[in-house]
Subunit: 415 residues, 2 copies
């Protein structure tokens, strides 16, 4: 049996460009790991009619619906009202939830406005969920076909409450189907060429399903399987991966559902090496994404964002003559930056980037998209140049960051 | 008259946690600026039945539907088939689109697999849109109530084609209603306290509508108005803002729909000052977000991510004795880091952060969440300490980054 899940996100701010909905993606990953099959996210404005239609539709189609947002204390927070309306009953004041809201605010020395009382109103029959990290209580209630869970929109509050209340309930549903994933990361072929190579695996209805995703110059083959047990699902995915690997050959350059910076940190940890970076055109993006990896401090010594030439000289010891002779975007300067970072941060390996991300700064010899890289380690320094298509500043930067992950994982040299 | 719009995003990779849907937010902002009212996004898996239901629902409810994704060359790219199925007719091979796909691949020296022919198949009656930056052609076609536009999922391809084909068509629709926004950024009160203060403005159905969004410690009052002309919509929003400002007083600390790093760059540009940063616990996030701002190079000299104590010494000239006497997380070290960055980068203003983001590293005197800041400028150096609630590593970092924007905009001192 399949437990179908849908995810709703409520809020004008998600529609009108103020915030990106990151909750739904997180929830989908957790719900699928728990064994549900997620087929749809819906993001709806605060408009009561639009909300009502979105909630009613999801609760008619799915077994589990998780909604986030619209539980705040102000008048534009309408999720409670819409759910009560769907259930055809009035909101009920929950004394325990109100005590908790007051306790949360009071223990932080904040005033307790009367308008926060709205947060303790519950639709008829709803089971309140305590919020250990904020004021908004959540709740669970049966609506039509679905078990509906309503959580706050603030990500950290939503995540704690999903782990406490939603995921355990989903995992214990009768007939839940465990799901597993294996990802193969591919570099080299076009999406179409890869699709032809693995076409027999991509038929609709196959279990495990095999799909291709293109992102930032990298292709990912996603193998997603379901089975009666988590172990059987994992084994089915691995069996498909065993068939695919020989077809991929040298195209296959990494495996796993983790992000590339996590793979880099894991690889350096495994080799007992430390890393430093000197970034010009990538502007700190490499350092920032490495630091986001839990445990990065064991391998990452630090980084310099050296936009100005003076910064390349003063902080990385790049000789002014080198910049004047070859230009700031040159393999020579990239090499000097990498060596300066390796020395300054006392790291085993240092990577440097210097390039022209655009829109300005291009010349006939060095057009926008020209990026020089260097890696310095105990064996010496190697520098190389990439010509990235000028498809916008963000594209050039992303592609340069990706090349950095590639070289840190695969070794030096141009890909 | 109101033109209702909905946005669809297609792809298993969006549901199963591989990619975050950023297209819908971008499209919503552009469609609303063009005068449409967006009430819903839907993200659907590649499952043909789920896709069909999502497309049929959106095209029954809205006047304009923009869908992204599922136009690639592989068998799991099914948007063309689903739309043809909805229209009850077979796919039609479009010779001009095929010529374009071949030209795009050929001019880049790539092979042209036969499977790319799938991308030249069009639903009956569809008008093909050329893709100037990739292989996947898009199309426009009438489905039920809606004018349906289908674009590739790759953001840069989608954006170019939306600007070329979708937005001009929407702007010329009869009865289109221009929309304007004014955002007031607020720091200080709780969301409930702010809601009480401006409650009379938050009634449903008001035009301009007034709403509150909480994000990263900052509250944003969003004023969104529609009117027969863009100028009248802007004036209506500004009239509401004029009424709100006196109610906010010192809580109001910035205005505008731009992000805080953009406000920082604009403020430094206006004052003719340059900026450098030295980051420990914020890990390059401040530098990275500043560099993302177009034109940042005019004010931003660079940054150092100094995780290790040796890096603080070698690159920023923080005396070892200072670290030993006060600890790496101390106002003294923050001050020395800021002064070192100001000197090294030859910047007018330098900001430094050093703190304990967790989960490890806390002590009774300096618990997780303790962050020291310093700003060095021509008038001297000032350092201060914040105790950020320990709600997770990401929260502490985000809150520290936000404090940095605040101090760079409002001046030194604790908030």
């Amino acid at each position: 049996m399949t437990i179908l899940a849908e995810i709703l996100a409520v809020g004008d701010e998600l529609i009108h460009g103020a915030l990106l909905d990151t909750n739904s993606k997180w929830l989908a990953g957790e719900l699928e790991a728990a064994g549900a099959v997620v087929q749809r996210f819906t993001v709806t404005s605060d408009d009561p009619a639009a909300m009502r239609e979105a909630f009613a539709g999801a609760c008619a189609r799915a077994d589990v619906v998780v909604a986030t947002g619209g539980l705040g204390p102000t008048l534009d927070d309408r999720t409670r009202d819409v759910v009560a309306d769907l259930l055809g009953g009035p909101l009920v004041f929950d004394e325990a939830s109100w005590a908790q809201v007051r306790h949360w605010l009071g223990s932080r020395g904040r005033p307790v406005p009367e308008s926060n009382r709205r947060q303790a109103l519950m639709p008829p029959g709803a089971r309140p969920f305590a919020n250990p990290v904020g004021t908004a209580p959540g709740f669970g209630v049966r609506v039509d076909r679905a078990q509906l869970y309503v959580l706050p929109g603030v990500p950290r509050e939503m995540q704690v409450m999903a782990k406490d209340h939603v995921l355990p309930a989903v995992r214990s549903m009768p007939g839940i189907t465990p799901l597993a994933q294996v990802w193969l990361r591919v570099l080299g072929p076009s999406e179409a060429a890869l699709g032809e190579r693995i076409e027999p695996f991509m038929v609709p209805g196959r279990n495990p399903a095999v799909g291709i995703t293109a992102s930032g110059g990298l292709l990912t083959i996603r193998i997603v399987g379901t089975a009666p047990t988590a172990a059987a699902a994992a084994e089915a995915c691995e069996a498909t991966a065993r068939e695919l690997r020989p077809l991929l050959g040298a195209w296959l350059f990494a495996e796993g559902t983790v992000e590339l910076p996590e793979l880099v940190v894991a690889a350096f940890k495994a080799r007992g090496l430390t890393l430093a970076v000197a970034e010009s055109c990538t502007g700190g993006a490499i350092a920032n994404r490495i630091v986001d990896v839990p445990g990065a401090s064991a391998v990452f010594r630090g980084g310099v964002v050296a936009y100005a030439n003076e910064a390349k000289e003063a902080l990385l010891g790049v000789p002014r003559a080198c910049i004047e002779a070859h230009g700031a975007v040159s393999e020579q300067v990239a090499a000097a930056m990498a060596e300066g970072a390796r020395t300054g941060f006392r790291a085993d390996v240092a990577l440097a980037t210097t390039g022209i991300a655009g829109p300005d700064g291009g010349t006939p010899e060095k057009p926008v998209g020209t990026v020089c890289f260097a890696v310095a380690d105990a064996t010496g320094t190697k520098a190389w140049t990439m010509r990235i298509p000028d498809l916008g500043r963000a594209f050039v930067r992303d592609r340069a960051v990706f090349e950095s992950w590639r070289v840190l994982l695969q070794g030096r040299g141009s890909g």
